[in-house]
């Protein structure tokens, strides 16, 4: 496998959808226009926590130009029940209540009603005329408030999972992993570091707001065009929420302007479906940026208590990690994933990890790039850095002494196969960055990070055109260059140039079921389906050439896009695909290869990041001046897009570390629902992000590919904090490390 010489894989061709995207022709969610289309708007809660006593929509309905109004009364009452295990699942009743509040509003901005009108202005004006009577309740705006005795309870009727609770609680789930003997481990430790860390709720920050357009046909079928990471999950979830059969819903994914996990769930689709059915006209709803911040998926704010014990020689002997994550208004934070990833970079003979899911009056969290992992990793890697200082061991050396490798058991159970963590650490130690001298007020930090990567279901169709080109059809929206990577894998098997393979993203009626674009799975799992579909096509092409030559298919081999006779047929003139393709009709009809897979996980992804930061001691302002990411990507199919994932994830993580946070007032109102005050990194905030791709082949993939996209956001929080520690002498236990906080900490530290 690793011996295979690739012709296209590993090169850097221009993406097939590139010209459409640099010319503005590509259609994103809000670019869909249908004849007779109405514009939708959503009325949202003014309170963070309140009982809905009544909603009166009559004044909205009376407004000229309003064609339909819906509230929760128009939605079927889906029961709330957790589908899935303690560590992950969905509650469609709660999904429905998040899409449209029923009985209670649970965060400021929670949808209450929706309007379709002939213009967006009229729709918005109608929303203002909807009258709601509330019984205002005390909002629960922090983990402390949620866990306090006597705290207001968001869901008094809900039974928590994994814990015994006396009476109602805002803790909905506890998950734990243990091994060895924790007390004995700490007793055996020469040095113990124990600290508590907090991180704020942050948003994925995709530039394209959520948007969808729906047409309802009189035969009961809905057509949805929307910006989503998973057209099949839109189809399935929308159908469940509206209690209709999924086959009545067709979802066509538009181009998607970023998602990072935030577009794996639904907000607008069932609302637009009901409005379209009620009005008899197509309806488009586009969120404003403010709505994106108030009502679409952030990721959890969290608190992590970490205790790390080590021997003098640096060996870790015990790790104890306790994680509380805000789920937002409904259960389902990534506490499970945070727990499963937290201690996975190192071997701990004795360990305990506990994760708690806690509901608060904030927007319901959605997946965000390696969900939960950056939060627990921030705590663990900060403590590892402290331990290196305490033991006077180089931080990379300390990590190497404990880093997991093939054969080690992850704390959440299974045993690792070939993984590249140690390789990334070795590369970091030898990288010029690590040897670059630092100046005044500068510091350097190192951190590792881990994400599982997902497999899941994918299907692919590879069809050969009469001119000898090919089409690859899959069901994964292309969020960052996956089309070209998939085409490259088909090109590799077919032996034709990448430019002659056209990759197509299908809708839910033109390709077999495919799980969403998420979990770093597309190039791995869908890529695997494409390879197998292309191999299926090649097998058929060999049979066709055999038919033409009157020989057996086993006497035809396929090399570089050319059929060659072999064995008894060696005297046949080689036949390139271009010559064979026009003859397919005469030899049995078109050649269509197909494949479907549901592979095991994509091979764990590990990375090591190095960050240099400069801090102005007068203002507390910091600037990342040098940053290097080193990651095991398995085989990198298109190295530019692998690097792009590494760089983008690093910068998202830098934003999380230094500036990004939701700010709330006492009533639970978000004070910064815009890009001016929710400060994401801009071009002048960051340096070039150096990348080193380590290629430890993933044994479960034919080319050795492993997932890439999520791991890069896991190390930066700690890498930046560790650099900050080196630059200022202060251990930051709270993110973001914004200038006022840094200045205060420096002053408190007496520097």
């Amino acid at each position: 496998m690793s011996e295979r010489k690739f012709k296209y894989v590993g090169t850097r061709p221009i993406r097939h959808d590139g010209v459409e995207k640099v010319t503005g022709r590509a259609n994103y969610g809000a670019d869909v226009v249908l004849p007779g289309m109405l514009q939708g708007a959503i009325a949202r809660s003014e309170h963070a926590h309140a009982r809905i006593l009544s909603i009166d929509t009559s004044k909205a309905e009376a407004l000229e130009g309003v064609k339909a109004v819906v509230t929760a009364a128009d939605f079927p009452d889906i029961p709330c029940e957790w589908k899935g295990g303690a560590a992950g699942g969905t509650d469609f009743g709660e999904l429905s209540r998040n899409i449209m509040a029923r009985d209670k509003v649970l965060y400021h901005g929670h949808a209450l009603a929706a309007v379709a009108a002939v213009s967006p202005e009229i729709a918005r004006e109608a929303c203002k005329r909807i009258e709601v009577n509330y019984e205002v309740l005390e909002p629960v705006m922090s983990l402390d408030a949620a866990l306090a005795p006597g705290a207001p309870i968001l869901h008094p009727d809900q039974e928590p999972m994994g814990i015994e609770s006396e009476g109602p609680t805002n803790v909905t789930n506890r998950l734990a992993f243990e091994g060895g003997d924790l007390d004995a481990g700490f007793a055996d430790a020469d040095v113990v570091i124990e600290r508590e860390f907090t991180t704020p709720m942050v948003h994925q920050g995709y530039i394209e707001p959520h948007a969808c357009t729906v047409r309802f046909n009189e035969d009961g079928k809905y057509s949805i065009w929307c910006s989503t990471q998973g057209p099949f999950s839109v189809q399935m979830s929308s159908a469940i929420v509206l209690a209709i059969e999924p086959n009545l819903v067709k979802c066509t994914p538009t181009e998607i302007g970023g998602g990072f996990g935030g577009k794996t769930t639904i907000y607008l689709e069932p609302v637009a479906m009901l409005l379209a059915r009620k009005s008899g006209r197509p309806v488009r709803i586009v969120m404003s940026r403010e709505e994106v911040f108030r009502a679409s998926g952030p990721t959890s704010g969290g608190r992590v208590r970490m205790k790390l014990g080590a021997k003098r020689d640096g060996r870790f002997v015990a790790g104890d990690c306790e994680i509380w994550l805000e789920a937002g208004a409904f259960r389902g934070s990534p506490a499970g994933a945070a727990a499963m990833t937290g201690l996975s970079s190192y071997t701990f003979p004795n360990f305990r990890i506990q994760g708690y899911d806690v509901v608060v009056n904030k927007p319901k969290v959605a997946a965000y790039r390696a969900p939960g992992a950056p939060i627990s990793n921030f705590a663990v890697e900060s403590c590892v850095d402290e331990m290196a200082r305490e033991l006077r061991i180089d931080p990379i050396e300390l990590r190497l002494r404990n880093a997991v490798q093939e054969g080690d058991r992850a704390p959440y159970g299974p045993t690792f196969k070939a993984i590249g963590l140690r390789d990334t650490l070795e590369q970091a130690r030898n990288h010029p960055h690590y040897k670059t001298p630092l100046g005044e007020s500068q510091g350097r930090g190192v951190a590792c990070g881990f994400w599982f990567n997902a497999g899941m279901q994918s299907s692919a169709i590879v069809s050969v055109n009469t001119d000898g080109s090919a089409v690859v059809r899959t069901g994964n929206p292309d969020i960052g260059g996956s089309r070209v990577s998939l085409a490259m894998m088909a090109a590799e098997e077919l032996g034709i140039p990448v430019e002659r393979v056209r990759p197509v993203v299908g809708d839910t009626e033109s390709v077999g079921y495919t799980d969403l674009t998420g979990g770093s799975r597309v190039t791995f799992a869908t890529g695997m389906a494409v390879i197998e579909a292309a191999q299926d096509a090649v097998q058929q092409l060999r049979e066709r050439a055999a038919k033409i030559w009157g020989v057996d298919a086993k006497d035809v081999k396929w090399e570089d896009g050319i059929a060659h006779g072999c064995n008894g047929a060696a005297d046949q003139d080689p036949m390139p695909l271009k010559v064979l393709a026009p003859k397919l009709g005469a030899t049995g009809g078109p050649v269509v290869g197909r494949a479907q897979v549901n592979p095991a996980a994509a091979g764990p992804g590990f990375a090591t990041h190095i960050c240099d930061i400069e801090v102005d001691p007068e203002t507390g302002r910091s600037q990342v001046i040098r940053y290097t990411t080193i990651q095991d990507a398995g085989k990198a199919v298109h190295p530019s897009y692998v690097e792009g994932q590494m760089q983008g994830g690093a910068v998202q993580g830098i934003g999380w570390a230094l500036n990004e946070e939701y700010l709330w007032d006492d009533d639970g109102v978000i004070e910064n629902p815009g890009f001016l005050d929710y400060r994401m990194p801009v071009a002048s905030d960051v340096p070039m992000i150096d990348t080193v791709i380590v290629e430890v082949p993933n044994p479960t993939h034919p080319y050795g590919v492993r997932g890439v996209g999520e791991t890069p956001i896991v190390p930066p929080l700690a890498a930046v904090a560790n650099a900050m520690r080196a630059a200022t002498g202060v251990r930051f236990e709270q993110l973001p490390m914004s200038p006022p906080r840094v200045l205060e900490a420096i002053d408190r530290n007496g520097r």
């Binding site: 996990g261 794996t264 159970g413 299974p414 770093s520």
Partner: protein, 81 residues
């Protein structure tokens, strides 16, 4: 005999056992056997992901098991990107 290793959350449902060895040809047979052995576990593994010798399957009910297989049940692994 496939060996099932329990997480500490699961241990509460299996009388504190850390692991158990059971005869099973496929994951689904193993789950049946576990439910029969530990009634409190019933239904809990229906949607779980399964790791067989380190490979994690989100939907692995019909995966075959070797006599030496080590099995873990865990939450489904998805993710954000």
């Amino acid at each position: 005999m496939a060996r099932v290793v329990f997480s500490s959350t699961q241990r509460a449902l299996v009388d504190g056992a850390e692991s158990v060895e059971l005869e099973a040809r496929r994951v689904v047979d193993l789950i049946e056997a576990l439910y029969a052995l530990y009634p409190k576990l019933a239904g809990q593994l229906d949607h779980a992901a399964v790791a067989i010798d380190g490979d994690i399957y989100n939907e692995g009910r019909f995966q075959p098991l070797e006599p030496t297989s080590e099995v873990h049940f865990m939450g489904q692994v998805s993710g954000g990107r």
